[in-house]
Symmetry: C2
Subunit: 291 residues, 2 copies
């Protein structure tokens, strides 16, 4: 029996609806949540992304403020702007649009965002709070993987979970989230021996390796929940003999769906949920600020 | 063949010697490192502990400053003292002696210690920095387990490591340290199904469960490195028929040593190394401050 497809677009839509309701409650009793985005320079892609983000915020009723810096801004300029946004009570969340100027230390800047406004959850303090089981804004991609695991309906407590990949923004946090929810968690990576064998112990398998179709049928335990965090652009020759670009995950979807119990597609799985969760994080932050 | 005993007292002595040399270098070129201890009230045990710590610092040439607060100090008093120590350039490390006044929020106070002075490594920021692979002061007990693993001579890269226990100061940090050093890490806990079976996959087995002799022969993979972090006081009837108190670990040492490749005893394993590492952390902090 082929696996249930965990539909990320549908879940994202549901999260957006719930988020919009929370925004309405806040706006009715206090004020709308506000996201501030820092954009340095005029990189075309970054500007387009900011415009799209402004639109998504508007759709949910979230206020959006774009803070622009010159492309040659210094680290001091950047830190001083972040400091101002940290201290501004009207701002609930701060995101730093990539790419930052080459002269800036992106990691240091990200760490300078106050933890209660770090809606990307992309700093050591946010991960440390997660590891301590304290309230924290969590990295959106790891959180998206977690929402999809919950949507699968699997009982997480006591389950064996395997995470392939140990990045700061996906592998490590999803491992901690699963551990917090009482799964037995094994984290694998490039140095893991017998990766297929270890992966096959996972009733939950989260793949965030960044390698196209790394995970084949022999990695999958029958009935497992498979969450594919990968997004890889590859060029492949189609049935018509023509080379074309396409987006594939870290999992060989067609092979895996014959064995898994449920599985996320790429595209249309973790990706859309991640985008929806950034805005939910803004609302989470606002509820704590206003509450 | 019985296991090699990993002698914590001997390793602690070696760490103390190396630490003393580093103190001498600092004292010769700049100044001696300084540890400040915050002690609230006059709990007899805490006072004795502080005296013993002062002596251990003196033996290595580390300056020690005791900061006393009344037993009914408020959280504001405590935070204001921590703030003063954070800003005092003469202070390299700050420890908060337990017990703090019942009116104080110990977790919030610990988090207020500046990460570069948090020589106990016992705050979310220290764990977050560890998770990000950034320079950090690490929790002494987890670090002691790591030093003993290194002392065993096992090749950690690619090894399967199993950690039993997921506490903030031992299980989680030792898992992250092992992962950073390229082991494949599985973290187990009370909800883990078939704990002996999972434990038996570990070429490295770290036990920090806080349950006397939880780990019996059937938990141990032949030849494994077994690190016992437990320290439990139990009352047992000896061969002479009399009940007596003794200290035992989380591992049934006599049974485990027949199967393991190397193993830490309790007492005399992780404990003495932990004590030595607190002072090494003070020197680490000082080197960064003076460096």
């Amino acid at each position: 029996m082929a696996a249930t497809i965990l539909d990320g677009k549908q879940l994202a839509e549901q999260i957006r609806r719930q988020t919009a309701q929370r925004v309405q409650r806040l706006a009715a009793t206090a004020r709308a949540p506000m996201l501030a985005a820092v954009l340095a320079g005029d990189d075309g892609g970054a500007v387009l992304y900011a415009e799209s983000q402004a639109k998504k915020c508007a759709e949910l009723g979230i206020a959006y403020r774009l803070e622009r810096l010159p492309g040659d801004a210094s680290q001091a300029d950047l830190l001083s702007l972040i400091d101002r946004l940290n201290r501004d009570d009207a701002v609930d969340g701060v995101i730093l649009q990539q790419p930052l100027p080459k002269t800036c230390d992106a990691a240091a800047a990200q760490s300078a965002v106050r933890p209660d406004k770090d809606v990307e959850g992309a700093s050591p303090m946010s991960l440390g709070l997660l590891a301590y089981g304290r309230p924290a804004l969590l990295p959106c991609t790891a959180l998206a993987a977690w929402e999809l695991i919950k949507a699968s309906g699997i009982k997480v407590e006591g389950a064996n979970a395997v995470v392939i990949g140990r990045s700061q923004i996906v592998g490590r946090p999803i491992g901690l989230i699963l551990m917090q929810n009482h799964a037995t968690v094994t984290t694998c990576h490039t140095r893991t021996r017998d990766l297929p064998g270890v992966a096959r112990t996972g009733e939950i398998l989260v793949v965030a390796a960044g390698r196209p179709r790394l995970v084949t049928a022999d990695y999958i335990r029958p009935g497992a929940v498979v969450i594919d965090v990968g997004t890889n652009r590859v060029t492949e020759t189609g049935a018509d003999g023509k080379a074309a670009k396409k987006t594939v995950g870290d999992v060989d979807f067609e092979a895996a769906r014959q064995i898994a119990g449920s599985i996320t597609p790429v595209p249309g799985g973790v990706g859309p949920v991640t985008v929806a969760l950034l805005l939910r994080n803004v609302v989470e932050a606002a509820e704590r600020h206003i509450g």
